[in-house]
Each structure stands twice: as structure tokens, then as C-alpha cells.
Amino acid sequence: MSEFLEFEDVSKHYGAVKAVDHVSLTVKQGEFFSLLGPSGCGKTTLLRILAGFEQPDTGRVLLGGEDVTDLPPYERKVNTIFQSYALFPHLSVWDNIAFGLKVAKRPKKEIKAEVAKMLALIQMEDQAWKKPDQISGGQKQRVAIARALVNKPRVLLLDEPLAALDLKLRQRMLIELDLIHDEVGITFLYVTHDQGEAMSLSDRIAVMKLGKIEQLGTPAEIYEAPRSSFVAAFIGDTNFFDGIVAEPLEKNSVLDGFLSVAVDKDYSRLKIEDFPDLECFNDKQIKEGEHIFLSIRPEKLRISRERPEPLPHLNVIEGHVEDVIYLGSQTKYWVRTGDYRISVIRQHSRYLLDEKPIRWREKVWLSWHADDGFMLEKYSEQDENLIQLPPEEVGETTESNQILARPADAGEPAAAGDAAR
């Protein structure tokens, strides 16, 4: 594993809009790397810069140590899967796949053998002579993959490849993409606005916001330890609480019969309106008196009818159930405490055996361990607007993707923002 794809201080403007803003990034060989972010965050522009369709205003792109910034698209050893697949409608499946090899003037025998191998990989040997308009969306997707892979690119670029498929097909293609990545072992650079896709496929993810990388890490790091409110809200659901850091906790321990009092720097006390004092793990050494947003994932909260036994570092608050949504494998509760509407997820392992499931309007206790909360900066309205932008239309050009206007009808709201207030 070497670091072989590098973006060095890459920027790109469209008029006054900064699509990509001084991004530096390295991707390792063989890695499945995702660029994840809402519309207009610059992820597609970054991919197009690597493909050679856009010239960066600043910085350079290195592939295997070689500067490819000024190479035209047809001289780069990368291939792209387009959002609209962009298959050649006048060519058969076979000719689509063979296109790159034919252009490279490879011997006929070799072309035949390579195309046959690809057709086997995508399991479409019997459809080789069909035209693109005679095959299904999922099959088109697979042909697009084969057409790119047959050229043995050093990096395969995927631009929202599943956006045009329906849910069932998308889930199947996710598994197929994963298998193909394992099989061919080349680097995948995957652009998506869908956090589920990115989480389930990637070795590492770069979450982007307004042309910058907000956080880079493995899916687990990003989910479990979001570095900003934007990341916390964009990846999965979360509850935000507006609070102020109070004094650190005292650590009580009994040593040789004496009670010693020491300051525990790992945990801070938080003051949040309407709540009793809460504790939160403070790995970032946030100072006393600072204003923070406490973020807690819905599944980290435990809901119970009885007040839980007090334990060290266990936070307990009281509320009443406002809504219950039964989802089969889990139930989602909305619990009201003061100004907050808190989302809680409870997995069912023994639902039917629970004598009395918690119901609407019941008084409940919520508890969580101080380690499961994160103190982040303010979750701004701008973040909320970005997250609620609808995904790019299939086939839309990059320039228009950069317009950051909030639509009148802001699609499906990300549950994140609902919690606070």
C-alpha cells in the first residue's frame, strides 16, 4: 500500500463560486476511497479534475508520483463511470466494452479475449450483441463498469454510479461493486451524496463541505467520532443539545482509607437549559465556559420506564414520549424534554416478550454514557441548508451543481436537525 494518488492544494472556481477550495488529499493504492458530501460540495469537480475534464486553478494532481495535471483526459490512466452511464447508444454491449482497447489499437485477438473476460465478470455473455437501449438499468451500469475496467485503469472513478437506480437494484449493485473491487484490486474513487453507500463500501471517506474536506477517516471513525456538527448531522442521525462547558469533574477515590479528591480532566460537566448537569468525555480539551453543541446518536440513548441505577459517567434525563414509529427491527421514539425533541432508537431483540412496550405519552428516562456524547461547534443554519439540498440531477453538468440555492420545497429533511428544537 503506497500513497499513489495525490491532490496537492487543488482549487477550482466557477465564477464567484469556489467549487474546490485548496484541497490536499492522498489515496492509497487499491483503496476504495469515497468523496461524500451534499450537492455543490465540490466532490464531482474533484473527480472531474482527476479525470481531466476540468483544469484546476491552483495545485496539481499526482498519479503514481507523476504529475498529470496538464494531461488531456485521453492520456490519463484513469477511467470514469458516469452518472448517466454514458454508454454509446449506437454500439452493442460488446463494442462498448471494446471501445477503449480498439482506440488503443490493441491486437484483435487480445481485444476479443479481454472483452470476453469482462463479459464474464459482469455475467452478461449472452447479451453481448444487444444495444444499450435493449438492456435494463442495472445491466447498463455493469456494462459501464466493464467498459472502464477493461482498460486496466490505475484508478476507477465512479460519479454517483447508483443514483439512477431504484432502491432494490442499488442494494444489489452495492454488493457487486464491492465484489468487483475485491476481484480487480484497483483503486476506486467513489463520489456520492449517499452516506449509506459510502459507509458500506469505503475503506476511507472524505466528507466534503463547500469545497473543503471536513473530515477524513474510516467509516467507523467518521460515524463514531465526527469532528464537526456538519459531519455528525450528515452521516447518520444525531441529537444536538445547546450547552456550555462547566468545570471538570472531580475524581473521587479511596486510597488507603483516605478520600482523595482530584480533577478528572477526561470528563467535563455540561450545563444545558432544562436539563440536570450532564457529563461528556472531553478529549479535545475544550475549556470551561465555552459554548458547545452536544451530539448524541439516537441508538446510543437507552429508553426505560424506570429510572436507571446511577453509575459513574451515566447521564440520565427525564421526558415523555411524543411519537412512536415502529420500524420492524427497531422502534424510533421521539421524546420531549423541555425545548428538545429527542430521537431515540431501540433495537428489538425480544420485542414480543417485552411485557409492556413503551407507548405514546408515557413518562420515560433516557440515559447514555458520557463517552457516547460529542462536544462539537454550533450546528449552523448553513449546515442544515446544505444537508437538505436535494441530490444532483442525473446528467446535470458540474457548473450548475455549484449553485447553492435552497429550494422552496426542501425534499426529505435529514432527521438530524429535527432533534434540536
Binding site: A51, G52, F53, P72, P73, Y74, E75, V78, N79, T80, F82, Q83, S84, A86, L87, F88, P89, H90, F99, G100, V103, A104, K131, D133, R147, A148, N151, G395, T397
Partner: protein, 260 residues
């Protein structure tokens, strides 16, 4: 309530108004009688006589030479124009360009014919086949440009990027992807241009010179000297060619739209 019969009646009236005269002409071309009024017997007499008329053959050759030249030229120019119109759509210059291309479709032919004649005379160009062909390009080009532009409007340009991404340089992309994909559109426009050129009368009449008689001009002069049955036969042939070209053009644009 019983649905009104009126729409049906109107429809048939319109169809009759449009096509009965043509039908009469076609039927009469197979009538061996010298006069359209009475039916003698079915025969190909007039067609055979047409075959033996050297001046008809001469006019036909002229027409085909002009139509082919004008069609090919307008396919090249019209496609280029469509590309420019699409690529730089929205710019002020292209809006002007669009009007310039669109104008010949609505301009009175007599005006175009007259102005072209004045233009050629002014330049002291010898009137003949060349001037007719150039005149035809001026309006044929618009039809090709409009047809190709319509195709370009639902063209996914990611396909061009895909070709380049797969290693194709600019020329390879044009030859292997762009032109094959647009070919049906260009061909449909070309066929339309061909039809229009074949049966254009007004403009050709103005810019024709000695020895450059085209079929429509020939028909006109034959009417003046009075040979109706022969004209019927000739018109039927012209009609058949036009019909075939338009049908082919329609087929090409429809088939491709479905594929897209």
C-alpha cells in the same frame, strides 16, 4: 347524449380538400385519354412517352445534380451551424445566428429568389446549375440545421466525455462517436433538404439560366404549351420521390428518438 358527428365530418372534408386533387392527378396519369374529363382505359402510355422525351431526361439530370450538391453542402454547413448554435447557446451572437438560420424558413420564396437573382447579377455570375445549387443551399441549410439542433438538444454530452475518458482523441471521438450518433439526424435533415430542392420552383425560376431547366420549371413550361397527361405522369413520379424521401426522413428521426 350522442357524440357530435361534426369533428368527423370536418376531418374528412379537410382530408378531401388536401388529397383529392392529388388523387385525381395520380389517377389521371394512368388514363390513356388525352383529356382528363373522360376515362378511356388504364395504361402506362404517358409514362412511356415521358421516357422518350429527351428534354425531360435533361431536366431530371439537372434537378438531381442540383439536389445532390445542395443536399451535401447543406448537410455539412447545417451540421456545423447546429453545433455552433448548441455549443454556445445563450450568447448574443448565437441568438442572432439562430435568427439568420431560421429566417429562410419563413421568408417568402419570391423575395429570396429575387434577391438572389439581383445578387448574382450584381456579381456578374453566369446563371446556371451552380447558381441554382447555391440558392438551394441557402434554404436547405436551415432545414438541416434545425433537424440536427433538435437531435443535439437531447444529446447526452457525457458520452463525448466517456469517449475521451476511454482514450479517444478529438478526431476519434468525432468519427467514432459523435458523427455515428448524429448520423440519423443529419441524414433526416439531408433527405428533407433533398425533397425541398427537387421540387423548388420559385427560387429556381429566378436564378436559372439557359440550359439549366429543372423538373419543376419543365413542368411549368409544359403547361404553357399544353400537355396535361404528360404532366400528370411527371408529377406523379415527382410526388413518389418526395413521398419516399419524407418517409425515410421521418423514419430516421423517429427511430432515433425512441432509442435515446
Amino acid at each position: 347524449m350522442k357524440p357530435s358527428r361534426l369533428p368527423l365530418i370536418v376531418t374528412w372534408a379537410v382530408i378531401a380538400f388536401f388529397y383529392v386533387p392529388i388523387a385525381i392527378l395520380v389517377v389521371n396519369s394512368f388514363n390513356s385519354s388525352r383529356f382528363g374529363g373522360s376515362w378511356e382505359s388504364t395504361s402506362l402510355k404517358w409514362y412511356i412517352r415521358l421516357m422518350n422525351e429527351p428534354s425531360i431526361w435533361h431536366a431530371l439530370t439537372n434537378t438531381l445534380i442540383i439536389a445532390t450538391t445542395a443536399t451535401l453542402a447543406s448537410m455539412v454547413l447545417g451540421t456545423s451551424a447546429a453545433f455552433a448554435l448548441h455549443r454556445f447557446a445563450g450568447s448574443k451572437l448565437q441568438k442572432l445566428h439562430y435568427s439568420v438560420i431560421y429566417l429562410p424558413l419563413v421568408l417568402p420564396e419570391i423575395l429570396m429568389g429575387l434577391s438572389l437573382l439581383l445578387f448574382f447579377v450584381q456579381l456578374k455570375v453566369q446563371l446556371g446549375l451552380a447558381t441554382i445549387a447555391v440558392a438551394h443551399v441557402t434554404f436547405c441549410l436551415s432545414y438541416v440545421a434545425m433537424t440536427v439542433l433538435a437531435r443535439l438538444q437531447d444529446f447526452d454530452f457525457a458520452i463525448i466525455e466517456a469517449a475521451q475518458d476511454l482514450g479517444a482523441g478529438w478526431w476519434t471521438t468525432v468519427w467514432k462517436v459523435l458523427l455515428p450518433m448524429l448520423a440519423p439526424g443529419i441524414l433526416a435533415g439531408g433527405l428533407l433538404a433533398f425533397t425541398l430542392s427537387i421540387d423548388d420552383f420559385v427560387i429556381s425560376f429566378f436564378v436559372a439560366g439557359p440550359g439549366s431547366t429543372t423538373l419543376p420549371i419543365k413542368i411549368y413550361s409544359m403547361i404553357k404549351y399544353g400537355a396535361p397527361p404528360l404532366i400528370n405522369a411527371l408529377s406523379t413520379i415527382l410526388l413518389a420521390i418526395t413521398f419516399l424521401c419524407v418517409a425515410a426522413s421521418q423514419y430516421l428521426s423517429n427511430r432515433d428518438r425512441k432509442a435515446a
